[in-house]
Amino acid sequence: MAGERVPLGELSSEFASVQLTIDHDGNGPRLRIEDLRTGHVGFLDPLELETLAWLPEGALHKLLDPSLLRWRGDA
């Protein structure tokens, strides 16, 4: 149903805080991730999430580099 949001909860560590919600604004459900420190929001669809469940060790290392996206050197 469009507009329906199912809150899943907040996950925090000493490094990050995110609010998770299942979002139905689109034609199918998505996971809505809100970075509570900045308010920035991102989405993951079921296929993306399934892919994440299969991630091998270290697959996110490149993405965890702070200068890849958020704090880029002169891009």
Binding site: S13, L60, L64, L68, W71, R72, G73
Partner: protein
Amino acid sequence: MTSADLANRWDSLIEPGRVHGSLYTDPDIYAAELERIWYRTWVYVGHVSEVPEPNDYVLKSIGPQPVIMSRDKQGQIHLLLNRCSHRANLVCDAQKGNSSAFRCPYHGWTFSNTGKLLGYPFNSGYDGTALKSELGLGRVARVASYQGFVFGSFAQDGPTLEEHLGAATDAFDRLVRLSPTGEVELTAGWLKHKVKANWKMLVENETDGYHPQFVHASIFSVADSGIGELYGDKSVAVCRDLGNGHTENDLRPEFRRLDQPLGWFGTDPAKVPGYVDQLTAVHGDNTREILIDGSPHVMVFPNLFIAEIQLFVIQPLAVDETVQHVTAVQYKGSPDMNRRMLQQTIGSVGPAGFLLADDSEMYERNQRGVHARTPEWLTIKRGLHRERRDENDHVIGDATDEVPQRAIWKHYRSLMEGQ
């Protein structure tokens, strides 16, 4: 100093029956101990049950060194130094957590939980990519575990953990044998007791069978406990030099004489039927003997005291400042026994407990007393005339003898004067 000077120096500080007071107060000696003992030999750090899931981590220590114990996604355990390779901030601050990566709060440098530098903000500020491969987190050179107990050594080479533990491996085997699953868990949480005393005061006290009847008389009488008798002049218990500085108060001869299953724990099998059934399912006819013998009372040099149902981890912070970290032993899968062990631990070493409070007062008084100018020496001769060897060729003495203290100093000296 030449090595002959050094040898002379230790000759003038440590004798077979006495040790010099400056060993507890001299900051130079303390600095040398950090290098020669704490940053070289195997030191207990943590237990695998404290990082049960992939990407779990806990903050630990090796003496004053801050250590992160992490479990990576493959299950392997790492001991990393909690110091950012940029400008040395603490990378982790939470006592425990779950994260595949750690991000330093100062400038955002980010490390995997295996210690690899993954990146840093605004990377054009650095020339080239060599930085990433060079600037991982520091790590404890060697990591090994025995029965789930994880030890670290800053030395690249040296004896293996099992060589270092030697006869003390038996204490771990006996401890986990009392768990029906053969595993203990350190999940009860930790209490920290800070004392203004040198760390060796604590190590020597853990297997000192001479003091309980005096220092702990009040708790024994309030609790109507028979423990005091175990350390009396009539006791058939023995103290033992297990080698490599490890020492023991072996109370089994007394428990066997008394012939009461779970008597060592101050209870009887009828009170914990679930636990006894579980243990019987594993050990059959041997169960009675296992329940009579009880749990070990062993000081594993330099910092892990297995005190029957509790574990104490000794952490020196300065020549006259030491923290004891205390937790209750928990047998994996034995809720009835675990509840009792936790209650007893809170009663004896919790914030309102008597046992550790009494010991701590002695530590601090000792540290103040040892500053007095004369006599310059501490006497550890008790039972020297009646030392003997057991069937495994270990030196033993009567329950109240100072065999353990002599054993600790003998090993200490070998570490301090060795190459």
